[in-house]
């Protein structure tokens, strides 16, 4: 403790003690250190992927498939995998986002914490914990083996949508709960029915947050390998029809190429990883742009 001056004795207001200053410094340094530590893996992964991925990240890579590329050949590309990933993720989103969003709306607006709402909430939590390979196995066992459907991009999308759904539900639920009660009441007080209030007031207010949540879900499933391995199978050719026949996906492509023994294949694997990261980043950017474009701040001030 510092020796109190006569003034501080009178008022009881003291300067910050040395002990507290030191503690403050130490904790600040610790926090910064933890932040830097957390950044190291992220930065190094990005660095590795960009450095190695740039080797083959060219027009040929983006526009050609692996068809007729021999085991030792250089060249070839990931066009078939890019198409596959985009189609599978899009289909998975088309399935998972509406169901997830409607579930979240039910939980927040209509469930009132009743038994059904609590049960759904519980199963959503369970679904969050389902390992990705299990969802792939489920689609393989049910869709492909029992119903006799072919391996296809759509089967992969089904597996991905199972993984996406709980993420969409949870994030949308959080966002809907953030919409203040007063806004709903303001709408009711104008004689607007509940469903219209949800559609016209609650959803637009929560839109940016929901879009971000959906993008996070997309990012999560875009990199999944295991479920695709079991459902879309594998191909080196371009297949533009996600409902018929084996497709490729970028994670699968990386997995496949990285397992081959030539330098050319390893380079392709890195470029595939880079492409995947770029696609996810691009989607995130689009979500941000939509959010910004719709925000009241853009229209005002």
């Amino acid at each position: 403790m510092t020796t109190p001056s006569t003034a501080t004795v009178r008022t009881g207001i003291r300067p910050i003690s040395v002990g507290r200053r030191v503690k403050d410094r130490v904790v600040q340094v610790l926090i910064c250190l933890a932040f830097v530590l957390a950044l190291i893996p992220l930065a190094s992964v990005l660095w590795m992927v960009v450095k190695n991925g740039m080797q083959r990240f060219d027009l040929e890579f983006l526009t050609h498939s692996m068809r007729n590329i021999g085991a030792r050949d250089v060249g070839g590309g990931a066009y078939h995998a890019i198409i596959g990933t985009l189609q599978q993720v899009l289909l998975a989103s088309l399935i998972a986002v509406p169901i997830g969003l409607l579930t979240a709306i039910y939980l927040v607006e209509y469930g009132n914490g009743g038994r059904l709402a609590r049960t759904i909430g519980f199963f959503v939590d369970v679904m969050t914990g389902v390992p990705s390979v299990v969802s792939g196995l489920f689609v393989l066992a049910f869709w492909i083996l029992v119903l006799g459907m072919p391996f296809s991009g759509f089967a992969g999308a089904l597996a991905l949508s199972i993984l996406m759904m709980p993420v969409v539900v949870r994030s949308a639920e959080e966002m809907l709960r953030l919409v203040p009660r007063e806004l709903r009441e303001a709408s009711y007080a104008l004689g607007v029915p509940k469903w219209r209030t949800v559609v016209k007031v609650v959803l637009p207010t929560a839109f940016t947050g929901i879009a971000t949540g959906v993008m996070l879900a997309v990012a999560r499933v875009a990199g999944e390998t295991a479920p695709l391995l079991l459902t879309v199978f594998f191909t080196d050719s371009i297949n533009n029809d996600p409902f018929n026949g084996p497709q490729m996906g970028l994670p699968l492509y990386v997995f496949d190429q990285a397992g081959r023994p030539t330098d050319a294949a390893i380079d392709r694997a890195w470029s595939g990883a880079l492409t995947l990261i770029l696609i996810v980043m691009l989607l995130n950017l689009v979500a941000r742009l939509i959010g910004w474009w719709r925000s009241p701040a853009r229209k005002g001030s």
Binding site: A186, A189, T197, V201, P204, T205, F207, P296, K299, S301
Partner: protein, 271 residues
């Protein structure tokens, strides 16, 4: 019936009388107000005063069936708007709220909407209206809420960018844009500074020519300034239901109340 009443409203005789008889309101098993019977006169301002927690806001919300939007909340008793029971078995609460508008304690403009869209929200969300008709209604409503001159050049700017007092007048404009017959105000000035408060009070004085207005206020000077009739609510003890102690002309309540409790409250001896 409500549809008919609404037609008349559009034709000009907008103000309607409200008769409440023996009304109880609950939150779950907790009885918040008990046995309220009163008549609210058309084309006048009725003020509800009383200590915090005495149920005046709850009672106000039972008048347009906003009470029941809170999970577990329910109402027993009758509220009649010109002979129609608002709690009748086949009354649509949505149409009740369309007929009896409400302004809340905290200004709550829709954050995603512009000033124009906020005022137009009630009409737009309720069905199809032509753009020219909307333009007219928005202008009339904003003029009615004394806000037109301040915002006419920036109708496309977000409503949330206005000052607190302007936002509250925007909410009033939004409420009167659907042409209700009754306007309920739940402490509309409690979040505002004195100048904005004055603007709202002036507005209330103008609006009462066309509407039946009910206002909850903690500010007794405000009740004395704006209202024609005043109702005093009180509760026997914390946790007990609130009751209507007395209701009379504002001048009488503030000078010569019949009940001792009213006099104590008004003179500041408690509450």
């Amino acid at each position: 019936m409500v549809a008919v009443a609404r037609e008349e409203g559009v034709l000009g005789t907008m103000a309607k009388q409200i008769e409440v008889s023996d009304l109880d309101a609950y939150y779950g098993s907790h009885k918040a107000i008990e046995g309220i019977t009163m008549t609210i006169e058309p084309r006048s301002v009725t003020a509800f005063i009383g200590p915090s927690g005495c149920g005046k806001s709850t009672f106000l919300r039972t008048l347009n069936r906003m009470h029941e939007v809170i999970p577990g909340a329910r109402v027993e008793g009758k509220v009649r708007l010109e002979d129609q029971d608002l709690y009748g078995p086949d009354v649509d609460p949505v149409s009740v709220r369309r007929t009896i508008g409400m302004v809340f304690q905290r200004p709550n403009p829709f954050p995603t909407m512009s000033i124009f869209d906020n005022v137009a929200a009630g009409l737009r969300l309720n069905g199809r209206v032509s753009r020219s008709e909307l333009d007219g209604v928005v202008e009339t409503s904003l003029k009615g809420a004394n806000l037109w001159n301040e915002v006419k050049d920036r109708l496309n700017k977000p409503g949330a960018g206005l000052s607190g007092g302007q936002q509250q007048r925007l909410c009033i404009a939004r409420a009167i844009a659907v042409r209700p017959e009754v306007l309920l105000m739940d402490e509309p000035c409690s979040a505002l500074d004195p100048i904005s408060t004055l603007a709202i009070e002036d507005l209330i004085a103008q609006l009462k020519k066309d509407y039946t207005i009910v206002i909850v206020t903690h500010n007794m000077q405000q009740a004395a300034r704006v209202s024609d009739r005043t109702a005093f609510f009180n509760l026997a003890a914390q946790g007990r239901p609130g009751k209507l102690i007395e209701m009379d002309d504002t001048s009488k309540i503030f000078t010569n109340p019949a009940e001792k409790a009213t006099e104590d409250y008004i003179t500041g001896r408690f509450g």
